[in-house]
């Protein structure tokens, strides 16, 4: 009974989404307020019905209703309750429902937090979000309903959740990632709405900016969580595999990063408008491309769901329609007015333009590396794979260039910067970065060119960012006063850029100085990496809720002093009869020691992988900094103050100076 209600609820949501996509739009084009007034209630109604459907599916998992095919395929009565909960999005259908729930959530968030926007803008933005919802709800209902029943042959128990996904990382990784992917639909909707009503100005950029930034922050966190999960759960200590599905998440991230910066220029200086709109369309299209790659079955990977050509065709159609329709609209409505704003060839505008060019170059490299093998395969020209060496050769130089440019860009001023002044300011950062890079190389003992270049760039980004903060916070009333005068969005930028520096140094160090050894060990054997000794003490076994595990005890010592004991496991999951490797990790800020058990090679001996991973945590720590930076930027009080002004005077250009601190009325946003 319940699952049918879920299906019914989704159909109602589709009807409401269809109304949301049309009624407010018609109202805004004909100027009928009575029709525009439907936008918010429809958005709310859509959210309620999608949430009801999601709740019903969750309930089916919790009560082990194996008459529902999706539950039977992805759960088991022995599964702990928290994995039953996360199994809701452990397969294609449920994860799509989660995607839809988040889309409806973003839609209602726009409806709630847009009180101070002009009514036509709100109607059009919500209408575009409604169109996106129609696409995904149709996809959900036509090709991938999670509520299909297995009646009358109800299985007595479920096929269990893929053991790889039975993990905390998977409870949080997909929701975060989808928040990012789907969040870019808001930026897309704002861009399309601006194209429809032709009001592509600084005010539009200001409204769109916090949504874009917060979606970007979620995506950053989602990607970092995925990388962390792969590190400890896939069992072999890698943190990025250039797997096509990882690339599918990196593509919108790179485009989104460019968008966040380009929106800043459009908001502050009123230029790059057409480019920003194009970028917003591109970013969301890349999110859709990611969905297509993961769900169409063209890829085979941990993430790829069971292949079904119909789903692939539907998503490809949705992607093509989105791109064609929005580009057509863009061709007709992109601003023909030339902006009269001047800027020199050595200004912050130009540096941000270069940032966009480089980010686009990086995005294209990843796009080529991801799609090229698929296209060749499709044309039947052979099966080939493009792996890490390709990206090391092409992506790393671009990443370094972005980092070097970032340091210069932070110091540059809007409109015009004196090159001599800029040069003098960059001397000290250059010196400090050299010192840092040299000490990294000396500390780890061994000159690795990429480690040197990478840590130089990381140092460069960090020192320039901090120096800028130091200079900006100089005040006659003391440092603390100067700091307090800086805006939250400035601190957001500082944190974001420091995050890049932190992640960069992590990548440079772990990629060049990480040590990996595969050894054959029997209980009692000792192997060493550098100054660490690993003793294989014993092999035991234990019984988990739905698996049996063989657990190794490995004592780690350093020059005879005990460091830690880790218990890596080999788990055999009863239902799917599959084997999983659970790594034993001694984590630390400056190094991880990682032990994983491979196969049994004879009566007593096991294949064991030992790894020393210096600074690996910095990669995720840096990502966390970036995400917090994004949240801080959105919390800036100027959005709230200006929102109010914007409502009064929509198309007025934004003043260059940020609104100074004063008795600002706190308006909740």
């Amino acid at each position: 009974m319940f699952p049918e209600l879920g299906q019914f609820s989704l159909i109602l949501a589709l009807l409401l989404a269809g109304l949301l996509a049309t009624v407010p739009l018609v109202g805004s084009l004909t100027g009928r307020d009575s029709l525009q007034a439907f936008a918010r209630p429809l958005a709310a109604g859509q959210f309620v019905f999608v949430a009801v459907a999601f709740g019903i599916l969750t309930h089916a998992f919790m009560v082990d209703d194996f008459s529902v095919a999706y539950v039977a395929n992805n759960s088991n009565s022995m599964l702990p309750w928290y994995y039953k909960f996360s199994a809701v999005w452990g397969g294609h259908e449920g994860s799509l429902l989660l995607w839809m729930l988040i889309l409806a959530g973003w839609t209602i968030a726009v409806a709630v937090f847009s009180r101070r926007l002009p009514a036509t803008m709100v109607s059009q933005v919500l209408a575009v979000m409604g169109m996106v919802s129609v696409g995904f709800l149709l996809f959900l209902l036509v090709t991938s309903s999670p509520f299909e029943r297995l009646i009358p042959n109800v299985p007595t128990d479920g096929a269990d959740l893929n053991p790889l996904l039975q993990d905390f990382g998977l409870i949080v990784h997909p929701p975060m990632l989808y928040m990012g992917y789907v969040g870019f639909s808001v930026a897309f909707a704002f861009a399309i709405a601006a194209l429809i009503n032709g009001r592509l100005d600084a005010a539009w950029a200001r409204w769109s900016r916090p949504w874009t930034t917060i979606a970007w922050a979620f995506l950053t966190l989602g990607i970092a969580l995925g990388s962390w999960w792969a590190y400890y759960e896939l069992g072999w200590g890698g943190w990025w595999f250039w797997d096509p599905v990882e690339n599918a998440s990196l593509l919108p991230w790179l485009a989104g990063t460019a968008l966040v910066h380009s929106l800043a220029v459009t908001e502050k200086r009123g230029v790059f408008k057409s480019w920003t709109v194009l970028l917003a369309i591109l970013t969301f299209s890349l999110s859709l491309l990611g969905a297509f790659l993961v769900r169409s079955g063209v890829l085979t990977s941990v993430h790829a769901f069971a292949s079904d050509p119909e789903r692939g065709r539907f998503l490809l159609g949705l992607l093509a329609f989105t791109i064609v329709a929005s580009l057509a609209l863009y061709a007709f409505r992109a601003p023909v007015v030339h902006s009269r704003v001047r800027y020199g060839s050595f200004s912050r505008e130009v540096f941000l333009l270069l940032n966009n060019v480089l980010l686009m170059a990086a995005m294209l490299l990843v796009l080529v590396g991801t799609l090229y093998p698929l296209i060749l395969d499709y044309l039947d020209m052979g099966r080939l794979s493009i792996g890490e060496p390709f990206y090391n050769l092409t992506f790393s130089p671009v990443a370094i260039a972005i980092g070097l440019l970032m340091g210069v860009g932070v110091f540059s001023r809007w409109k015009k910067t004196d090159p001599g002044w800029l040069g003098r300011h960059l001397l000290w950062p250059a010196a400090w970065s050299l010192v840092l890079a040299t000490s990294v190389v000396l500390w780890f003992g061994g000159f690795e060119p990429w480690a040197f270049i990478g840590s130089f760039t990381a140092g460069w980004v960090a020192v320039t960012t901090l120096q800028d903060l130091w200079q900006k916070s100089a005040s006659r009333k003391g440092r603390w006063h100067g700091m307090r005068k800086q805006s939250r969005s400035y601190f957001g930028m500082v944190l974001g850029h420091l995050g890049v520096a932190i992640a960069m140094i992590g990548v440079s160090v772990v990629a060049n100085y990480g040590v990996e050894r595969d050894v054959r060990m029997s209980p009692g054997d000792t192997a060493s990496i550098g100054e660490f000794q690993f003793e294989f003490v014993a092999m035991g076994s234990r019984q988990g809720a739905n698996f049996t595990a063989q657990t190794a005890q490995i004592d780690i010592t350093r020059d005879g002093n005990r460091v830690s004991t880790v218990y890596p496991e080999k788990r055999r999951y009863n239902v799917q009869r599959s084997v999983m490797t659970e790594a034993g990790i001694d984590a630390g800020l400056f190094r991880d020691l990682f032990v994983a058990v491979g196969e049994k090679v004879d009566d007593k001996a096991w294949a064991i992988r030992l790894q020393y991973k210096p600074f690996i945590r910095w990669i995720w720590l840096g990502s966390l900094f970036m995400a917090i930076g994004g949240v801080l930027a959105v919390a800036d009080r100027r959005y709230r103050i200006k929102d109010r002004k914007a409502a009064a005077n929509v198309s007025s250009p934004v003043p260059d100076k940020p609104v100074s601190a004063g008795p600002a009325p706190e308006v909740s946003a």
């Binding site: 480089l358 490299l365 080939l384 794979s385 792996g387 054959r520 992988r609």
Partner: protein, 159 residues
């Protein structure tokens, strides 16, 4: 020239240079780092190059896995049920590696015809078979069928 036009020209030139550089780098990197897939029949037929990294795969032959008693060296034969190739690998095999299962390995072919793998991938779960392997098995089966059709004596004599 008008300063705005000059600035635009500079930007356009800059973009073109960047684009050109990116394309050059990409094609160079692609040429260096592509690894093509060959099945056992192609390798024994001498179609696979031995001077660069390739990928190869098939089903692991029953009873062909031999472990070195001292180290983690392992050798096994991979077949498409028509020809087979010996593979050598030092390290940890994936969890789902087993005799009679499909694998795909990356590595180089020695002049002696032994494939030295530096990476071995097995399927992800019970149902999944690497697409390269399933295609190569289909091709081999097709060839055998057409051979049988062409020379009925040969096929009947084998029974």
């Amino acid at each position: 020239m008008h300063p705005i036009r000059r600035k635009r020209l500079i930007i356009v030139l800059f973009l073109l240079c960047g684009l050109g550089l990116a394309i050059a780098l990409t094609t160079y990197a692609l040429r260096q780092n592509i690894s093509l897939f060959y099945d056992p029949s192609q390798i024994t037929g001498g179609e696979a190059p031995s001077d660069r990294r390739i990928r190869a795969g098939g089903m692991v032959e029953e009873g062909s896995v031999v472990r070195d008693p001292q180290s983690l060296k392992v050798s096994f034969r991979v077949t498409d049920y028509e020809s087979s190739v010996t593979m050598e690998y030092v390290g940890i095999l994936p969890d789902l590696f087993a005799e009679g299962q499909g694998v795909v390995a990356t590595g180089t072919l020695t002049p002696g015809g032994v494939f030295v793998a530096d990476q071995v991938l097995a399927k992800h779960d019970e149902q999944y078979m690497p697409p390269e392997v399933s295609e190569s098995l289909e091709r081999a089966a097709m060839r055998q069928k057409s051979q049988e059709a062409a020379s009925p004596d040969a096929s009947s004599s084998s029974y």
